[in-house]
Amino acid sequence: MVVICNLVNIAKTVGVNRIVPGVAVPYPLGNPNLSPEDEWKLRYHRVGVALDALETDIKEQTVFTVKI
């Protein structure tokens, strides 16, 4: 399981092992300040990072890096 969320520290505290940062609490995979095209790119990218995370072997709790 991979968790995408904005509150990374809380995810760590409750023991989530694979974490991908979200954008904000009300829209973890959106951003109203972006154009619809850029917002889509962002969501597509972060979901892609989450999929990569599922296929990555880890030894400890890991927060995966997002580029957008």
Binding site: V2, Y27, L29, R43, L54
Partner: protein, 352 residues
Amino acid sequence: MLKAVHYINQFFGQVGGEESADFEPVLQEGPVGPGLLLNEAMKEVKITHTVICGDNFMASHPEEAVARILKMLEGLKFDVFLAGPAFNAGRYGVACGTICKAVKEKFGVPVITSMNEENPAVEMFKSNMYIFKGGRRATYMKQDVEKMAAFADKIARGDKLLPASMEGYFPRGIRHEVFLEDLGLEPKCAADRAFEMLLKKLKGEPYETELPIPKQERVPIAPAVKDLRKVKIALVTSGGIVPKDNPDRIQSCSATKWGAYDISKLDRLMAPDFKTIHAGYDPEQANKNPNVVLPLDAIRQYQKEGRIGEVDDHYYVTVGTGTTQAEAARMGREIAQRLKERNVGAVVLTAT
């Protein structure tokens, strides 16, 4: 007058000691053993029947024992289920917890038992039921029975039930908002209470938090999925995204329910067919485009590109605000169980 059924083991049921621990469950009319004391102590509740079951029988064949006992109870009318007290007897405690949990789930009646804090069953079952803090040995029978009886009477009278620490049972991990007046305490504003706590802390004096944080749990790390094209992926969220009529009436905060909704024919979640009912964040963006919380559109895109294979027909959702850790853990277990049954191999969970 409410009716109660009481569960006891072979020893307290006067069948015999350790040599009779394989005793198969029976139903008897009226109270037996500790039930006589309970019956005497309760003013508003009457024990109509007693279930007696050997501790080893319950420990060795829990499913069969529970099924048989539930069947015995089917024909009865009862409002409360009592078990024990089990003191520090491990097997008896687990038996009381097991049957109380099953009875509560099947019949929806309040279940009350009593155990010593050292009884391993306390940790296993305290979040599911009222377990009163009992003595270590049967010499505490009278005190333990009286606590259970007083609480059963309160339920029968419809009295306001107080927090765990005041009633005397082990905290179930459920938070309620209460006013101090209603607890018979002097009202004092939260800032004053917090300040007093801080002063005590600075002086190194003992103080009691009003918001105990449950202990951190470590979760074993799941191995990496070798090839996402070959497993089924499921989407899960605590962000409260539901079909627009919220068919299962999942609560907007302090949720105790979760739902599973069909997405097999959808390429993305469309507003207003889907919306959020989560009361802990501004819903504007999620209601405009629910995919910002549950990214079905992106998942479908990856599916089209062949990056992933099958996506589960349903997504799974609850609301994660004001939700206690105990409830969250229960719902998590239930959802995980469902995912296993559906052969899901990987989960993308979005949390708000």
